[in-house]
Amino acid sequence: MREVNYLRPKNLAEAVQLYRTTPGCRLLAGGTDLMVMLHARTLRPEPRALLDVWSLPELKGVRRVNEALEIGAAESYTAIIRSPDVLRDLPALAAAARTIGAAQIQNRGTLGGNLANASPAGDTLPVLLAYDAVVVTDRRSIAIDTFFTGYRTTALQSDELITAVRFPLGRQVAFRKVGTRAAQAISKIVMAVSRSPARIAVGSVAEVPLRARRAETALDRGDVDGAVAAVAEDIRPIDDVRSTAAYRRAVTQNVLRELTQQ
């Protein structure tokens, strides 16, 4: 078995430099997905090195930047849940973080990892869509609704590193995840909804976490029944090990109705 090198940069500048210049390099943060795949040897292409950004101080913390809250890409879900700023300004993000795995995973999982992994079932991703979050990288800002480009693919360039996620303030977002049990569940569906402006973001119902655009148009008119009808057409669920397309469609409609009544 080929040895995978371990690289630990001292600061963000060194991380950016190493990521650009090291062939076959993958980023490692909390490892909750990557280490499973590394051990099972299912990472493609097979990495030659892991660049550990977990401890970089520039990627930690929750801070107020003008009229936004910025969360470091390698900040843990536990720190996000404990942050008074998040609890006050982004309660739906705290709610989503609390549904991820259990203590062991919340202590290691990160927003940067959830984004880069780009799983359609990523629990925080609909919340980011509902808040119109901005993905901040080492070179630019990417609007979240252009970030997911296909099944587990993103707008990131191959040597581009997520440094933070920026959330505009002043929006009310409701969140709900439906899984097999309260902890350690991968969602059957996961949803975040903002009434004004209308944002309906759903995970585990398509190849990407998606915005239900037709349902949003109806909700913008205040037409909840129309939104509930339209969302079934906006999503593209499949049958898989966790659920069926029919169940996901029905539950998406029910959860949308529930969240618009909050």
Binding site: N5, Y6, G30, D52, A103, Q104, R108
Partner: protein, 148 residues
């Protein structure tokens, strides 16, 4: 690389991308830490890193450089069991024993962090630790016996 293991500073020459779990068991012969699923689902490999519980199957050993790692072997003070370990014995909170080290570490953190604990708090706090014998009730009783 250097880190603190169960209160003792150690120095190791290992590939940093190896799993902490494997280095603990194979190189350091600390076999109290168990491998269950190897996917971060079951919590059998739980250890404490700077006092926070984590699955050692998901951690590259290089990531604990400079940090303090506690395994189940580090809970007891010499031969003296902690109150929690004693309570596990008294309540029959171990059956096959595979989940026990992880349960003890997760419960240890829970008892340190919470002022008061209800059965629901314990269930939530131990949600990342699966017992394949399904002996949860006695585990929760043992933790509650140590809570205020």
């Amino acid at each position: 690389m250097r880190f603190t293991l169960n209160g003792t500073a150690i120095s190791l020459d290992v590939v940093g991308t190896r799993r902490l779990l494997d280095v603990l068991r194979e190189d350091l012969h600390l076999t109290g830490t168990k491998e269950g699923c190897g996917e971060g689902e079951c919590g059998a490999c739980s250890v404490l890193i700077d006092g926070e519980v984590a699955d050692s199957c998901l951690i590259a050993v290089g990531q604990v450089e400079g940090r303090a790692v506690t395994t189940v072997e580090g809970l007891a003070d010499g031969g003296r069991l902690t109150a929690l370990q004693q309570a596990f014995i008294e309540h029959g909170a171990a059956q096959c024993g595979i989940c026990t080290p992880g349960m003890l570490l997760a419960a240890h953190v829970l008892l340190q962090q919470a002022q008061r604990l209800s059965a629901a708090d314990v269930r939530e706090g131990l949600a990342g630790n699966l017992c394949r014998c399904t002996g949860y009730t006695k585990i929760i009783d043992a933790v509650l016996a140590c809570a205020k």
